[in-house]
């Protein structure tokens, strides 16, 4: 079973729909015990970084740290990716879990914000999450803050400079774009995530 974490920050219908279309059994949950027992975990996210504070309050954060340490395949989407970093200037008072080094920051002036639309992703050939994609697939973004390019970055997108479109370390994955809204390329990313051997 795949746990799709609900932290009351937006709409989970599209993520559930895409997972279901790929034949996965997914369940929306706010329960740390369900997250601990899941074979895979997805942390979607649209909205404000401050909303992730709820993950701490509900005990989900502890469960997430635990499953990541055990090597359970974990995918953070959008704000879900940003939360893997140390924090975001969107909400200085809210820390991320620091599984990835660095801090997320807003796109600078004079660029249009949010960055909305289809942009290319330069995909690292060794990435398991991005396997089977063309070298420069188009993926759909909608966000105002972005994560820096770090050692774990496996997909780079250019908008006001380079940022992390996808990160990967072992079974820990994050994407800033929306795979559930990125057509065939996005479905391939989700398919890859579902195919990663669990622990």
């Amino acid at each position: 079973m795949i746990a799709v974490i609900d932290y009351k920050a937006g709409n989970l219908t599209s993520v559930m729909k895409a997972l279901t279309a790929l034949g996965a059994a997914a369940q929306i949950t706010e329960d740390a015990a369900v997250v601990r027992a899941a074979e895979r975990v997805v942390l979607p996210g649209v909205g404000h970084f401050a909303a992730t504070a709820r993950l701490r309050e509900t005990g989900i954060e502890g469960a997430v740290r635990e499953v990541i340490a055990r090597g359970v395949p974990f995918l953070g989407i959008c704000v879900g990716l940003q939360w893997l970093f140390e924090g975001s200037t969107e909400s200085e008072a809210t820390a991320g879990i620091g599984a990835m080094r660095g801090c997320c920051a807003r796109f600078p002036e004079p660029h249009k914000v949010p960055h909305v639309g289809w942009n290319t992703l330069a995909a690292a050939p060794e990435s398991r999450l991005l396997a089977g994609l063309p070298a420069q697939p188009f993926v759909y973004y909608t966000h105002s803050y972005r994560a820096p390019v770090i050692r774990e970055t496996v997909g780079v997108t250019q908008y006001a400079g380079p940022f992390s479109g996808a990160v990967e370390r072992g079974n820990l994955f994050g994407v800033q774009f929306h795979p559930e809204k990125s057509g065939d390329a996005g479905l391939q990313v989700l398919r890859n995530f579902l195919a990663v051997p669990g622990c």
């Binding site: 920050a9 937006g10 709409n11 219908t13 599209s14 729909k17 895409a18 279309a21 649209v46 909205g47 404000h48 004079p110 249009k112 914000v113 949010p114 960055h115 909305v116 639309g117 289809w118 942009n119 290319t120 188009f138 759909y140 909608t142 966000h143 250019q158 908008y159 559930e180 809204k181 990125s182 057509g183 065939d184 996005g186 479905l187």
Partner: protein, 256 residues
């Protein structure tokens, strides 16, 4: 590189897509789910479904249509028409919309923009503006509501700025002057709104050929353009339109 989006728009009433020059001469053009799927397969970057009658009785039919259409669509899906309250919006998100578009109701109660945005994120809120200026300057362009029938006395540029401040994620700007003419978008108005804001602007109204899209992306500085009836008038599909744009050097998502 961030590409220019081509958004396919489906005007829907009573669960069917209708075509025609807005409200006159409506012809049945098919099933929304089927057409949305076809447009997405042909490379549409986004699908907009607009409930053009938006009656209270039609609401349940609309939700069914949205759910059915959303099921097979894996590109962004926006629904508009008759969204009056945050509850209306929530019902559409539950049915599978990724974004909702608000128009008349946001003019009547601008706090609706923030109310929807605070629950679903500002990226999920598109503020649709119907603009009319006749042969006047863009500064005097006026906002119309109720399907373009009722003037509000508000200036388009002022309202667009307020919508951005209140948390709109994008502006869908329709020129009532150009709409239905097939003589091209109002590039001047689109550029004026775009340069006054930092959020993306989607141009709508007036498309008749591929060159019109090139113009609105270049001279109009639009981030996206809405294509509705153009596919009934000679351009086969989104792929053909995008191919033509690519030939002219406009960055678009291809192959798609």
């Amino acid at each position: 590189m961030l590409t220019k989006r081509i958004i396919a728009c489906l005007d829907v009433t009573a669960g069917r897509v209708v075509k025609g020059v807005r409200f006159v001469d409506l012809l049945d053009a098919g099933d929304p789910a089927e057409l949305a799927h076809r447009h997405a397969a042909a490379g549409a970057d986004e699908i907009v479904l607009l409930d053009i009658t938006a009656t209270h009785e039609g609401r349940k039919t609309l939700l069914d249509t949205v759910a059915r259409t959303a099921r097979e669509i894996f590109v962004p899906f926006t629904v508009g028409g008759g969204v009056r309250t945050a509850e209306d919006a929530a019902a559409l998100f539950d049915a599978g919309a990724d974004k909702i578009s608000v128009n008349s109701a946001a003019i009547a109660d601008p706090s609706l923009i923030g109310a929807v945005g605070s629950s679903f994120g500002s990226q999920a809120v598109v503020v649709a503006i119907d603009a009319r200026r006749g042969s006047e300057d863009v500064e005097v362009a006026e906002v119309y509501v109720n399907g373009g029938r009722k003037p509000t006395g508000r200036k388009v540029l002022d309202w667009a700025r307020e919508a951005e401040e209140r948390g709109a994620g994008e502006i869908l700007l329709t020129s009532m002057d150009a709409d239905g003419t097939r003589k091209g978008f109002d590039c001047e108005l689109t550029a004026a709104v775009g340069s006054a804001l930092r959020i993306p602007v989607i141009a709508s109204g007036g498309a008749g050929n591929a060159q019109h899209f090139v113009d609105v992306f270049r001279a109009g500085c639009a981030d996206a353009a809405l294509a509705a009836s153009i596919f009934h008038f000679g351009i086969a599909d989104v792929r053909e339109l995008k191919q033509e744009l690519a030939n002219q050097g406009v960055p678009v998502r291809l192959p798609c």
